[in-house]
């Protein structure tokens, strides 16, 4: 999956896991996506570089839509749309 860089996406839910250790980005992603309704957008804030590969990969595997990533100064903002 190609990495998409985006800006100004409005999320429905935000989860801040900056400074939390790997693989919290995947565990939180799974946990939060369960709470979302179809069509809603999740924003994950993380400083973990490995998420650049892991989060798009998770979306591909689970059939959810990876909307893109925004690179801010200290951390990344990932946007995922719940499809299934």
């Amino acid at each position: 999956m190609t990495l998409k860089f985006v800006g100004s996406i409005k999320p429905d839910v935000t989860t801040d896991i900056v400074y939390m250790m790997c693989p919290m980005h995947l565990l939180k992603l799974e946990e939060k996506m369960k709470e979302l309704d179809k069509g809603q957008i999740l924003e994950i804030l993380t400083d973990y570089d490995g998420a650049l590969e892991d989060i798009p990969g998770w979306c591909e595997k689970t059939g959810n839509e990876f909307l893109g990533v925004e690179d801010s100064d200290e951390y990344y903002k990932f946007y995922i749309k719940k499809v299934r």
């Binding site: 400074y19 939390m20 250790m21 790997c22 693989p23 565990l27």
Partner: protein, 406 residues
């Protein structure tokens, strides 16, 4: 010979119910909480139950509790973790000179990594003036750390008032509540703090289990890297028996707190009255706003260590200054920061009481203490008084540059 333990601030004996709660997790329920099968799930449930019990003691959410190994680790984690998480917003930290070494030495580590640190003095009662806190905060300040209650002089700080000042200045406020949590009511939300350290062995739980309360939404850089224990914020396989013990101890403390406080306060008041009857002995710390089981004194013309050893020879176990200072045979920095001269600070003695103490223990102490003091004064080279040197109790700020040559 009678044995009287009056050093509850050093550590507490384990509550028998706590010991019983811990036992299965040393034996049949030994699983790793991260394991996916049944023994792992059992251990995980036990840890999460303990988290809820610990959170309830300080009126926090379970998700706001991070288990650690000691009060010192919690303090290191708070100081270094919060300051580092906020360093882009500013590089100034404020602590008081009353703090435990785990706070002060963490502050010194921050200095070496480029932070400026302000060390606030206390007044003669060991209280930090909220106005002095306000004055110390700058646009660069990202973290303030002040202990809730002093383990050395028992003084309880005006945390609520200081928390409001911190909030108004958008400064994160950590309090070291190791001496207070489980001994007096501690409500993290009511106090208005963002982070709070506590340790199980200060309220009849085991050593090796402690916690850091981190307000929901507050970022903290881990101190220990590894796996995803404690929500990915503190790695390492959990000390399940000790954590279970901490939870049980917290539950018991919450239920028994008023009775425990009344018990030790009654004994403490008699102890203070009796000890102050010996001439040239003064109470240290605040006369009213102090921990209910805490009585600390300076005894003129003798050294704390000699008092401690002679009392121990009579089966009476007490402290002189902090446990660390006692061991290092140093005048307590806490007493010095209150403006007490070094010569007098050397003669410090601290009695801290707990649920196992009785009125008979106080009778025994009050019978043994005066003759020990008389005997020590007879042989003291200072018995006729000493030259007092003025000790500074001023506020000072270090800059990273001032550290470079040290």
């Amino acid at each position: 010979m009678r044995k009287c333990y009056f050093d509850y601030v050093a550590t507490n004996p384990l509550h028998p119910d706590v010991f019983d709660a811990m036992l299965p997790y040393f034996k049949e329920d030994f699983g790793n909480p991260l394991s996916l099968y049944e023994p792992g799930m059992k251990a995980r449930n036990a840890v999460e139950n303990a988290r809820a019990q610990t959170a309830a003691l300080i009126h926090a959410k379970p998700s706001e509790i991070i288990f650690t190994s000691s009060g010192a680790e919690s303090n290191n984690f708070a100081l270094r973790g919060i300051a580092r998480a906020r360093q882009k917003e500013g590089k100034h930290v404020v602590v008081s000179r009353m703090e435990h070494h785990s706070v002060l030495n963490s502050a010194r580590v921050l200095e070496k990594s480029g932070f400026a640190v302000t060390y606030l003095p206390a007044d003669k009662h060991g209280a930090v003036d909220p106005a002095a806190v306000k004055k110390a905060l700058t646009k660069e300040t990202v973290l303030l750390s002040l202990g809730h209650a002093s383990s050395e002089v028992g003084t309880i700080q005006r945390i609520q008032e200081i928390a409001k000042i911190a909030r108004d200045h958008k400064v994160i406020f950590h309090t070291d509540a190791v001496a207070s949590a489980g001994n007096i009511p501690v409500d993290a939300k009511e106090l208005g703090v963002d982070a709070l350290s506590m340790a199980a062995h200060q309220f009849y739980g085991p050593k090796g289990a402690a916690a850091l309360y981190v307000r929901e939404g507050l970022r903290i850089v881990p101190l220990i890297y590894g796996g995803i224990q404690e929500g990915g914020r503190r790695a390492g396989t959990e000390n399940v028996p000790a954590i279970v013990g901490m939870g049980k101890a917290a539950e018991l403390a919450a239920a028994e707190l008023p009775a425990r406080m009344e018990h030790v306060k009654k004994l403490r008041d008699r102890l203070i009255e009796g000890v102050l009857a010996v001439e040239n002995v003064s109470l240290t710390g605040h006369p009213e706003e102090r921990l209910p089981g805490h009585a600390s004194f300076t005894v003129e013309y003798i050294e704390g260590e000699s008092m401690l050893l002679l009392l121990a020879s009579k089966g009476v176990y007490v402290a002189s200054g902090s446990a660390c200072s006692s061991k290092a045979l140093k005048a307590s920095p806490v007493l010095l920061s209150m403006g007490i001269p070094a010569s007098l600070a050397q003669g410090s003695v601290v009695f801290t009481l707990g649920r196992e103490n009785s009125a008979e223990d106080i009778d025994y102490l009050l019978a043994e203490f005066p003759p020990i003091i008389r005997r020590l004064r007879e042989i003291s080279p200072f018995a006729k008084g000493w030259e007092e040197k003025e000790q500074g109790n001023k506020c000072y700020t270090t800059s990273p540059e001032s550290q470079s040559g040290s």
